[in-house]
């Protein structure tokens, strides 16, 4: 019987592959590259109100009010959406001979390090498509932020809000140094923010701050780039995209994944789409040109090589032959592609780029690599949660109140959350190797609840039953889940990708399955051999419902994972759902 089923599945799989190939070509043709420069000429200017012009509340030092502004040279098409960038923590001042310092303002003839200029490569492209992009300098925060409890999150948030106030003045009454040039040219109801490193937490904190003030500015989209998440603030009801560099040598625990994990079910009815992008071969610093060695700014370093003991020899992130590291240019390509796609989609309403963010389209050419993984959590109205796997009840009863059952799986348990006695899913490995559960410096919030499981022969099966009243899933695009190969489970062979099948069965007993490897590369064995790699990051697998031919999508009765593609293996799984992308 099983052989028949497998043959059927195999035949269908082949057919699906053909369809997928045709479909993929069609989809890719319809998704333009968001990172290609647009038609508009761009002007870059700066404003500077002084190194000590702003005093964040309860903060032990003054902060500069300085920023660059990229805008379409012809302002006649305005008002334009506004994008704010905020750099992260870095040395603040330099002196001849390469000496660097952490002080503010710079003293004794030292000059400030212009970290805020490091994202001009993104600003230029966005402005050429009709966006105003403001990149804020925050050296004054960096100089003393370790002295305050929240490590500077609120100061960064207040700084961003101050710049929005300044832009609002430019937009409403005008003001020095631009006079009336920008009056009526900024759409302050369409704002996006990107923050890098500690700036990543800064933009999340800013979203919360702006909200607490009655949302005077319309923050539509928040993009933490290689962020810290010390305090565990959450973005609710706005688009979120977190970029995680696999070879981050600074925020090496990829703690920023908490922003996504914490936001998923935080408020009922959340209509904000949530994404993250795991970029293999990327480090922390190369996303900022000023922090990148090729530009010769003082303090610029390759963080993986500088901060990871023995990091040179890592076969993924190191510098030896065969390493998988991205060059500075390649890495910035990923930043360009996914920042422009995100802001153009969710701030500018250019929804044609959303498939790039959900993984339904391949990385665009501007990304300069395909070796990345996108995860996606749909807005509440576009999602039917099958099993959130939040607590032990979900091991037997899923989120739809259907039965959750297994055969041949061991272990079959939850790890990673408050409901789990052991917070870490991999107790013998560093926190930095399991980002979803890595602790936070200023919060006791727990990590991501995950199903830790595995199989020892071809009979392993994980099944979620769907109550009849909820079985009409025809309105959704895909069945999806997040998954990682558990590198600590010896049943997984090093460097060999895992595989299994997703099977849907309808009320009449008809079923079809799709092999995960046919739709996703997420079952890779986590690469690297020098801690903090390998590491487990759960990536989304989205299986189009159109691939389950012969199944009545109006009456689906179960979703099964059948572990019959590999003799044995071990996985971490969460977020089983039907979902669609925003249109």
């Amino acid at each position: 019987m099983r052989a028949i089923t497998r043959n059927y599945a195999g035949a269908f799989s082949l057919m699906f592959l053909l369809l997928l190939g045709a479909g993929a070509r069609s989809v890719f043709a319809q998704v333009p590259d968001p990172g290609t420069p647009g038609p508009l000429a761009v002007t870059r200017e700066e404003y500077n109100f002084g190194d000590t012009a702003f005093q964040p509340s309860n903060f032990p030092g003054p902060v500069e009010l300085r920023a660059s502004i990229h805008y379409p040279t012809s302002l006649s098409g305005g008002p334009f959406p506004v994008i704010l960038f905020l750099h992260g923590r870095h040395v603040t001042c330099s002196q001849g001979g390469g000496g660097v310092f952490l002080e503010w303002p710079c003293s004794g003839g030292r000059t400030s390090i212009p970290s805020y200029r490091g994202y001009d490569y993104v600003s230029n492209v966005l402005a050429s498509h009709g966006y105003v992009v403001v990149s804020v300098s925050a050296n004054g925060v960096n100089a003393v932020d370790n002295s305050v409890f929240d490590l500077g999150a609120l100061a960064r948030a207040e700084l961003l809000q101050k710049h929005l106030d300044i832009l609002n003045t430019f937009n409403s009454t005008g003001g020095a140094p631009f006079g009336n040039k920008f009056v009526g040219k900024f759409d302050m109801s369409k704002v996006g923010t990107m923050g890098h490193s500690r700036g990543g937490e800064g933009v999340v904190r800013h979203y919360v701050l702006n909200d607490s003030l009655g949302a005077p500015y319309g923050i539509k989209a928040v993009f933490p780039l290689a962020p810290v998440d010390f305090n565990r603030f959450v973005v609710n009801n706005a688009a979120l995209n977190v970029l995680l560099p696999y070879c981050d040598g600074d925020v090496s625990d990829l703690q920023g994944v908490h922003f996504y994990d914490d936001a998923r079910y935080n408020v009922p009815g959340d209509q904000g789409p949530k994404h993250y992008v795991l970029v293999m071969g990327a480090n922390h610093n190369f996303y900022n040109t000023v922090w990148s060695p090729s530009n010769n700014f003082p303090g610029a370093i390759n963080d993986w090589l500088a901060f990871v003991p023995g990091g040179h020899s890592d076969d993924q992130c190191g510098s030896g032959p065969g390493n998988q590291r991205l060059t500075e240019t390649q890495q910035r390509g990923t930043g360009l592609a996914y920042m422009t796609a995100f802001f153009r989609a969710y701030v500018g309403g250019e929804t044609q780029f959303i498939p790039i963010l959900t993984g339904d389209a391949a990385p665009p050419p501007s990304a300069q690599t395909n070796n990345l993984f996108v995860s996606y959590h749909a807005p509440a109205a576009l999602r039917l949660d099958v099993n959130r796997l939040l607590n032990d009840t979900n091991l037997t009863i899923n989120t739809l109140n259907g039965a959750a059952t297994q055969t041949g799986l061991t272990p079959y348990e939850l790890c990673g959350s408050a409901a789990s006695p052991a917070n870490k899913c991999l107790p013998d490995f560093l926190n930095a190797q399991q980002p979803h559960t890595t602790p936070s410096a200023r919060s006791s919030a727990r990590g991501l609840s995950q199903l830790k499981t595995g199989w020892n022969n071809f009979t392993g099966n994980y099944r979620n039953d769907i109550p009849p009243a909820l079985g009409n899933v025809s309105g959704f695009q895909a069945v999806q889940f997040r998954v990682s190969v558990n590198f600590a489970d010896a049943r997984n062979l090093a460097d060999l990708a895992q595989d299994f099948r997703v099977r849907l069965t309808d009320a009449a007993g008809s079923s079809a399955s799709v092999r995960v490897s046919d739709v996703s590369g997420a079952l890779y064995f986590p690469p690297g051999n020098v801690a903090p790699v390998p590491k487990v990051v759960l990536n989304t697998v989205r299986v189009p419902l159109s691939a389950f031919g012969g199944v009545n999508l109006n009456a689906v009765r179960s979703v099964q994972f059948t572990f019959d593609e590999r003799l044995q293996g071990g996985l971490l799984i969460t977020d089983v759902a039907f979902a669609s992308a925003p249109q």
Binding site: F101, L151, S197, S444
Partner: protein, 172 residues
């Protein structure tokens, strides 16, 4: 375990009810109960409790030594230590020297043995990193000082010389 330790240290370092007067000027006006006047504590006079120096920099952070100083507070602070609120009249600065220390997103974490003293604050010239604690039990004879970025114990870099507490020391 790390989590518990860190929470405790965070509490020790930051859950403060009445604030310093006089010398801690601007901070004395704070209404928040979470902020310790760290910048002032970094500058306040201290009594040297233990010190180690090496002429040869050690490891990736080029560590050259440590310094532990006792700082007498001008007014007691109510702090939470191991879940109990106590009135502290002293703080301790634990400074690791070497570097130049990197300015990273992850803060430096200074440890004594397996307990976290606190997050490190870099000096302007990046030649030292200092954490402040109100927990006298951390300052113990024979303790091993170490430093990490992030809280993974296994990534710590240790100072080879253990704490040797001085019974008397001059003001610094």
């Amino acid at each position: 375990m790390n989590r518990i330790l860190l929470n405790r240290c965070v509490a020790i370092t930051f859950v403060v009810l009445p604030l310093l007067a006089g010398g801690y000027g601007a901070f004395a006006q704070r209404t928040t109960n979470k902020e310790v006047p760290v910048r002032e504590l970094l500058k306040a006079p201290g009594r040297l409790v233990s010190e180690a120096k090496s002429a040869r920099p050690n490891g990736a952070l080029r560590l050259t030594g440590y310094r532990v100083e006792e700082v007498r507070l001008q007014r007691n602070l109510t702090v939470d230590i191991k879940g109990q609120q106590i009135a502290a009249d002293k703080a301790w600065r634990v400074t690791v020297t070497g570097g130049p220390f990197p300015v990273r997103a992850l803060p430096a974490v200074i440890w004594i043995d397996d307990e976290i003293v606190g997050n490190g604050i870099e000096s302007e010239d990046l030649s030292q990193v200092t954490a402040i604690t109100f927990d006298s039990s951390l300052i113990r004879e024979g303790g091993v000082v170490s430093i990490s970025y992030g809280e993974d114990k296994d990534t710590r870099q240790r100072l080879s010389q253990r704490l040797q507490l001085k019974r008397e020391g001059g003001n610094q």
